[in-house]
């Protein structure tokens, strides 16, 4: 199903980009014959379906069509690999940190329900959800990098860990807030359930109870909120990369669409990568879901 969806998406993207009005060649500088020749060279004179089959076969071999930018002839694949690596590292860092911190805050809040710590966590999560992450980002950068110049102002790939603290932290704020809020509510619900009361009545307490009965059940819905968060990271990355000057996929995409002219090859390649990542992550979370909750795995087996 995922593969089919991805295939459909690539097809739609491809057709959309091929039928877009306009001409990728500078008409005033090229004669009609030159354009025709160039079109034949790039394979643009063939029917769209044939072009699509060609593109797909190249894609399966691991290259994106002709593999170069329309404007400066820069090869797509190596550039994209570097950018992907940067974005990926920061994305993973922030999602790991965000989830861990969010879980921690949520668990603390649920265990201290109604007390001061709970209130504090609620305020943090409301602010984190409501205030856009790039507001935080700009302020963090202004104070920690400019006013007291502790952290580097811009991202620097040679000092990866140190210079990615700020972007990853600001990217993860939304994740922290959402995860904390969700964890707290789920924990409270599970802690009031009959089976936890039963376990308590049987003499189970403390860490064992938390790990075996509460957390395991409370975490299932939390996994579902992580999925949209991962996706949000993609968009968040565009802003982060602009603010911290990171050479990443978000910046690449912005350059491709907001620059002088739209670079179709880049847009197509990046769109395919984004969609594939997105669908891949969804699939991964589905599998993760089954690992955490045996009921889902078992019913799925029965159905099959």
């Amino acid at each position: 199903m995922s593969v089919l969806t991805l295939f459909l998406i690539i097809f739609v993207l491809f057709v959309l980009i091929r039928i877009v009005p306009g001409n990728p060649f500078p008409v005033e500088r090229m004669s009609a014959e030159m354009i025709l020749q160039k079109r034949a060279e790039l394979g643009l004179d063939k029917p769209i379906l044939i072009q699509f089959v060609d593109y797909m076969s190249m894609l399966l071999q691991g290259s994106f069509g002709n593999g170069t930018s329309l404007y400066n002839g820069a090869p797509i694949k190596p550039i994209m690999m570097i950018c992907l690596e940067n974005s990926f590292k920061i994305g993973v860092l922030s999602i790991l940190f965000g989830t861990a911190a969010g879980l921690f805050l949520g668990i603390i809040a649920a265990l201290n329900r109604g007390k001061f710590l709970d209130g504090l966590c609620t305020v943090v999560s409301i602010l984190g959800v409501c205030i856009p992450s790039y507001v935080f980002m700009i302020f963090l950068q202004y104070f920690f990098s400019y006013k007291i110049s502790f952290f580097p102002y811009f991202f620097d790939a040679s000092r990866f860990l140190f210079s990615s603290i700020m972007p990853a932290l600001s990217l993860s704020l939304f994740a922290i807030a959402t995860v904390a809020r969700f964890t707290r509510n789920e924990m409270i619900e599970v802690m009031n359930s009959d089976y936890v009361k039963l376990a308590e009545a049987k003499g189970l307490y403390g860490f064992e109870l938390m790990r075996k009965h509460v957390l395991r059940n409370a975490l299932i819905p939390v996994v579902t909120v992580i999925a949209p968060l991962v996706v949000g990271l993609l968009t968040g990355a565009m802003v982060t990369e602009k603010i911290y000057g990171i050479n990443g996929v978000g910046k690449l995409m912005v350059d491709a669409i907001a620059g002088e002219g739209v670079d179709y090859n880049y847009v197509l390649a990046l769109s395919i990568v984004f969609s594939a990542l997105y669908i891949g992550i969804m699939l991964l979370l589905d599998i993760l879901y089954g690992i955490i909750d045996p009921r889902i795995r078992l019913t799925a087996k029965e159905a099959a």
Binding site: L16, A256, A258
Partner: protein
Amino acid sequence: MEKNYTPTADDFEFISDRDLSVDLNFASQGYWKGVAIHFFRSKLAVAGVIIVSLIILFAILAPIFSSYSYQEIVSVNSAAGKEIVAKSLPPQFGDGSAQNLFSDKTFLFGTDDMGRDLWTRTWQGARVSLIIAFVAILIDMIIGTSYGLISGYFGGHVDNILQRFIEIAGSIPTLVIISILAIFMEKGIGLVIVSLLLTEWIGMSKIARAECLKLKEREYVLASRTLGAGSFHIIFKQILPNTIGPIITQVMFSIPVAIFTEAFLSFVGVGIVLPQCSLGSLIEAGFNNITVLPYQILPPISVLALLMLGFNLIGDGFREALAPKIENM
């Protein structure tokens, strides 16, 4: 004694003066009245309403009453007859304390690096952002709700096909949709609205469908059908009014998303183009000067944050009010 005596109010009297307290939670009351009472009891929700109404009020009034227009470049002629532009001035209040040629002029938020009044521009930007959000979400609401209700009501093959379509449409990342749109359309308000239209309706339709699945088994729907009502009459006259609550909640949560999307698009440079302004484009302009002129980014970014906070608080309050939990009563 008269046979047809009509009792008047004077015939009765209270047995005592004590307050007759009525239990608001359990007394019989209209649905919306109950929702309103619960809503206004939440302090956070009221704070949200106040924040949002103040910003809307300013967004409507400030550009009208300002002495400058939002694209006007303020300048004076100096003694030498040269035109001097009020570039990048910090906030000043027109009381003559500012040490510049514009000391008699008021710039509450200062001016930007082109010499335009930031007070006017901020509120004009808030206006543009709000208009975009409201228009986009309103259309989304109409499309999403109809789609979800039809899918949920008819079920079977119709539902299956419509849901597969949503599944595929929903697995295209927003970023990709925006990029493709950027190829087809001119940058500007239109691009922002269309990209919001294409992405936000899915959530709306999921909620409408879930509500519809719950409601279509109710007796009153059966009664209507028995009396010969057509499907579309049942969907839009019988079911739709009962799904309004959850849909409004979703709208309240979608508006900040829309405002944020606009700000984000304008910030990365595919949204609003100059001399038009929105909160996003103002933040972008301020960000470019943040180390030198930090006061330029403060007003738009605060308005953006407050606006999103306000709408989220209202949404939260509304959700609570629609489904009050026992513990909150």
